[in-house]
Symmetry: C3
Subunit: 275 residues, 3 copies
């Protein structure tokens, strides 16, 4: 299939995905960090889904039972979360609910590395969303990339996604100046977004909530990941046009997610799929 046709189909799938979220209003269970938990809840509502947060393991069989998808984010990684996160993942697997995993800071400490390894060993996740350093850490290739910039350029972004997708048997979303989202078959480059988004805490966490919302809307891992990353990229870009400061930037990002529709996506998308 030529690239233009591929892109046309992809955009069509993203349109359907957004419509499905707004129609179904999926419940998205989050086990997430305390820094951005409120923003994750609000972005989930903004896209048209419904957030659910609980730290009570005794009720998670029921809660995941009526949820449509699960977001696991190890951000603040307190003891309560570490004790229950693998169990939560296993429940979601048993109940066949798709999981998006946000391995925040996985390369930064041994405890994070071990936790993510434990999760990936015992739990099947549908999507892993991280920055380049996090995905490389999971692949144990961070050391090789030191001082060698080749792995950070465009072609290597695609390469790393394919490598990670193959090794981990999941869809991979790598966010950065350029985002790379895909699986073994296809990788989508997304050139939306704006560097000022990094001045708001939680834009990364919010992307995971958006991916979780699309997953809960009964969309494929690939389309959910592309749609989630693209939605935040467009919202960030549009918000930057009215930039006053970083406080209102966050408010504007949530506003723009809540206003997102297929016309806005068509008008602003900068995606390039590669097979």
């Amino acid at each position: 299939m030529n690239r233009e046709l591929l892109k046309k189909e992809l955009l069509n799938d993203i349109e359907i995905a957004l419509e499905k979220v707004k129609e179904i209003t999926p419940l998205v269970y989050h086990l997430t960090n305390t820094v951005t938990i409120n923003d994750c809840a609000n972005i989930t509502l903004a896209i048209g889904a419904s957030p659910l947060m609980s730290f009570c393991i005794e009720e998670l069989e029921e809660i995941i039972g009526f949820s449509s998808s699960v977001v696991l984010n190890i951000g603040t990684m307190d003891k309560s979360m570490r004790d229950m996160i693998v169990e939560v993942g296993k429940i979601a697997n048993r109940l066949k609910k798709p999981i998006v995993l946000d391995p925040v800071g996985v390369g930064a400490t041994k405890a994070r590395k071990e936790l993510i390894e434990r999760i990936l060993k015992e739990v099947k996740v549908s999507v892993i969303k991280g920055n380049m350093a996090e995905i490389k850490s999971i692949l144990n290739i961070e050391s090789q990339s030191r001082g060698v910039d080749s792995l950070d350029n465009e072609s290597s972004g695609i390469e790393i996604v394919k490598l990670a997708a193959k090794k981990l048997k999941t869809t991979i979303a790598i966010t950065g100046k350029i985002d790379y989202v895909g699986n073994e078959e296809m990788v989508v480059e997304i050139r939306n977004g704006h560097k000022k988004m990094g001045l708001v805490t939680g834009t990364g966490c919010m992307i995971s909530s958006l991916i979780g919302s699309f997953l809960g809307g009964d969309n494929s891992s690939l389309i959910s990941s592309v749609a989630g990353v693209l939605a935040m990229g467009i919202a960030g870009e549009l918000s930057e046009k009215d930039f006053i400061g970083t406080g209102s930037l966050k408010v504007n990002i949530i506003d723009n997610i809540s206003k997102l529709n297929n016309d806005i996506i068509r008008l602003n998308e900068k995606i390039t799929p590669t097979i």
Copy 2:
């Protein structure tokens, strides 16, 4: 008393209630969830009261001692909260501080149901604030209402409040498209608010903080509950007039609570008391 006279007195009491909060600046202790804890603090300040949060049982005798009221919200229900919430309620009872209970999601899981039953068995609460499903769950009538819409119409809202108030010996605030707030003697219908408020996480939790603020301002359970629900309804309605997106909607709701005064209440209230 005819309905017009009743409403006149009610509005008068609400006016006095708001003035008392602003004059006294009551301290409102919250044991609440981590998703909306910041919004609860800010809405408490916005109405003119002062929020206090602590998860340290060792200091709660002192903290509740100098607080004027207590908000219990089981939203995220982590182990630490479950371990201390009944004890917190007992301390408040012993120190004669009014409690508003927000039984978030009580019908959704066994653990929530058991926790609320444990609280209601051991603690005397002044107000229970929930949506129709939560209040029905507490009354164990959720099954009967399945498929029978009669309990969801207007007359049944009033009926459920009276039933719950009688059975639980508290004031009941049921929020929804139409809010029903009252006790065995009187129920007030409130037709303020806007459905877009559901797109912001925590508007329900913030209502409980407002009720707690009015309770702390030395107002009756009935007036506090009507004033709290009405304040949020008016703020939501006014905010919706300037709707841009769901991020700014939250900011506007807090702004409108902070600007609320008796003229705005008079101009916007849509309340109907029934004896």
Copy 3:
């Protein structure tokens, strides 16, 4: 040195301090409360630093290792925090990372008093930031000040800072209608700020994050404390000029911190140093 020359040098140092933060983007580890943790993260980003939050003691040796400074805030003081805060402080001391301590509500309960005493006994902190009641409580002089207003006037603000700095061997930042920041040698009065800032939860916590950001930018304890308190004072004052309500006030404060530059500081500062 005369006061004018002193002030000129001080402003020069503050300018350099802000430039250093923006150049270095220091990582600022926070062990803080759950009410304002998101605001602390966003204000840290707004000034040009980078926030790090973790409640996992197993990783804190590493995290503090690559952080530039540490913020300890006992706000919600849950068990997990109480168990680890002294250990965190000792790690920071061993790794020679400056600490700013925010002893929230220390005079209000025995548990807070004991925790702060334990921290101050075992940990060397660079800055203590509190309101007058908190600093007096640490000095055990709260009882003497009851009914005697002399300790609350201007000259006593300076006096209390010097007393506390001498006794505790730290820089002291006392925030209030007038802020007093200094050490045994110099105290700086700051008359920026606006009382409406008290209607937003977390402005105090955010000041500690700002001080932590300046400390992490390799600035002295004195300059970091003056710069942090002054930055928030100016941001609050500028935000108040566009006051609509307390929700947008918070957003505006973060916006104004993110826009802060040396011209804005020069134009708005109301500082008076005293030796």
